[in-house]
């Protein structure tokens, strides 16, 4: 008996991926902007923090549309919820401490690396950027090690 690579089916994964690509592509065709999602977590700080790092032009000049883009993500998922999703919505059972501690590392690491799963993984790879390929391979490996270590140690 073979073990399925996609025990929950594969069509929704591919369809979702194509839609994500369509969103990033539409943004580029209409505005020429690159739609990675981690930068908004730095650029939004420029509204409240006077630190020189956050006052860089690359954050000031893009902070408004990045927030609008993030709002679009929320609206898009809300549309899916109303139209196709379960009545009660999605509720993760991953413990809050894992979400909080993991989030800290995700935010710090993605901004240090200047990209995340969408910035390096989608925009970077689609631009044939070798640094992004290195970044993707690196976070896949450390992600795989950590996720399995958490399981081994009895986490969620």
């Amino acid at each position: 008996m073979t073990v399925s690579l996609f025990p929950l089916g594969w069509g929704h994964y591919l369809a979702g991926g194509l839609l994500i690509g369509a969103g990033v592509s539409l943004l580029f065709i209409l505005t020429g902007w690159i739609g990675g999602m981690s930068t908004v977590f730095s650029s939004t700080w420029s509204y409240v923090s006077r630190r020189p790092f956050f006052q860089q032009p690359r954050f000031i000049e893009t902070r408004a549309w990045r927030l609008v883009f993030a709002l679009g993500l929320i609206l898009g998922a809300a549309l899916w919820w109303q139209w196709l999703g379960p009545v009660g919505g999605i509720r993760t059972s991953v413990p809050l401490w894992q979400l909080g501690a993991g989030g800290l590392l995700v935010g710090f690491g993605a901004r240090l690396s200047n990209g995340c799963t969408s910035g390096h993984g989608i925009c970077g790879l689609a631009s044939f950027q070798w640094p992004s390929l290195m970044a993707v391979l690196t976070f896949m490996v450390t992600g795989f090690i950590t996720a399995n270590l958490v399981l081994f140690l009895g986490g969620h």
């Binding site: 839609l19 860089q56 929320i74 950590t146 996720a147």
Partner: protein, 142 residues
């Protein structure tokens, strides 16, 4: 921001967020089962997204003299240095711990996945810490 740009960005974001939800990436459980080799769906999500984006990034600048609402097509800044790899390694550790990355953390809120607010807060604090640290290390500003 003009109304046209606002509508362009929000429509693009809606497609992105809708796609993340369709692909079930707003459930950290699905991402974690990929990282545990139980479900390879994330490869299809990323593969599908890269294929479409690649076409746009490659052909839009050839077919259009400029984007519809702006002066020029941006080029993604890119550098292979220590920070790119070290940051990715740290990002991956966090990703493997919580199963959440920046896009799904934000989008998940739209589908009622309220616990992801904790992840969003964590990411925001982590991003602040990174900026704070950069200001203390005078050499690297990329």
């Amino acid at each position: 921001m003009t109304l046209a740009k606002f509508l362009a960005v929000i429509a693009s974001g809606i497609l992105f967020g809708f796609g993340l939800a369709v692909a079930s990436m707003i459930s950290p459980e699905v991402v974690l089962s990929f990282l545990r080799f139980r479900d390879f769906g994330l490869m299809l999500v990323m593969g599908g997204a890269v294929c479409v984006t690649l076409l746009a990034y490659r052909y839009a600048p050839r077919l259009l003299s400029r984007p519809w609402l702006e002066e020029q097509f941006s080029v993604r800044p890119s550098a292979l240095d220590r920070d790119t790899v070290l940051g990715a390694a740290i990002f991956g550790m966090g990703w493997g711990l919580c199963g959440v990355c920046p896009g799904p953390a934000i989008a998940g809120l739209g589908a009622g996945n309220w616990p992801l607010l904790v992840a969003v807060a964590g990411i925001a604090v982590g991003a602040y810490a990174q900026g704070w640290l950069q200001d203390r290390t005078p050499v690297r500003h990329h």
